[in-house]
Symmetry: C2
Subunit: 167 residues, 2 copies
DNA sequence: GGTTCCGTACTCGGATAGTTGTTGTCCGAGTAATGAGGG
DNA sequence: CCCTCATTACTCGGACAACAACTATCCGAGTACGGAACC
């Protein structure tokens, strides 16, 4: 799985605590997490294409969540960054080799192996769907020490002030 | 996910219907599935290292399941071929950037994002653990037309005869 | 003083190289069956 | 006829290239703000 998934989720939690109407540029998000700015921008583009975040150009622009944090699931982010296709790909090798049947009707039902693998992936997706960015935030509020939460909030606030006073 | 996972699972189901005491060479398994023989051999080595299949050298040698099919789970195969590490890797980026805390004790509890992702992977692994090669075989017996099952059995039997009469 | 227009600086978006992991292949070490030879 | 032994052919195992995907980066298109000029 791409490292960009981790970065993207962290970015979404940061964007979730942004005051409504405000946006945060990709460069600031990269600075906050100490990751390569240009590469993070690439993943944010993917989030934007998927409709998870909205992008605003020009000064005072940046990224912001496109919908409430409670409506952004982890699966949404993972699929946007890593692609929609399943991890297990069935290449139908059962239809090849000496035991193959010429009648295509024999292969109407999906391969049992693929079904088992996809059942596991469904369980994985269900679990990822059950967790939203809002849940992650609530868990942060409950477990992270207040001092650390304040440090993050302070930094974001300072960025907003700098952008307002000296654009 | 590597394509070798699919091949390996198919191979295990074939090995499961082998008469006890017999073995099937990697070349025959590759022939049965029409996959590159040398590359399949590589994955069979992984299965052997993991103790899922046993290998026998020399004439009449080959691969055979190392334990009953009911005790080989899909997770065993997937981990052997794709590696033991989790798909999601937490690089602890929360400990970096301007909001980081100097006190290491603040990061004793795992990152909530990693916990959520690993929870999903646990669900995936649970589902894969619940399915064994024996289950796949039973499902095959119940759904695949008899003619096709016979074709496969015939082929395996013929291979065994050829190996016995003309080694 | 209010309005309009232009310049500017900042943003995102897609097109472009470098590096690691997956895919694919090969040849050598080891082994068990085979057949001949001898007792 | 039975036993011993060298031969032989077959197997696995690990070492060696080619490709693709992930990682990382850059520059151009677009946009909203700021200020200056004009009415």
């Amino acid at each position: 799985m791409s490292d960009g998934v981790e970065w993207s989720i962290h970015c979404c939690t940061v964007l979730a605590v942004l005051p409504p109407g405000e946006a945060l540029p990709a460069a600031r998000l990269a600075e906050f997490h100490e990751v390569p700015p240009a590469y993070l921008a690439k993943h944010l583009q993917a989030l934007s294409s998927a409709g998870i975040v909205g992008s605003i150009s020009g000064p005072r622009g940046g990224y912001a969540l496109a919908r409430p944090a409670a409506e952004v699931t982890l699966l949404d982010i993972v699929l946007a960054v890593d692609g929609e296709e399943t991890a297990f790909r069935c290449s139908e090798i059962r239809q090849r080799g000496p035991a193959a049947q010429p009648d295509p009707a024999a292969y109407r039902r999906p391969c049992g192996i693929a079904r088992a693998m996809w059942r596991a992936e469904d369980a994985w997706r269900r679990e990822l769907t059950a967790t939203t960015v809002a849940d992650l935030l609530a868990e942060l509020m409950a477990t992270v020490p207040t001092a650390q939460l304040l440090a993050g909030a302070e930094w974001i606030q300072q960025v907003q002030i700098n952008r307002r006073t000296r654009p």
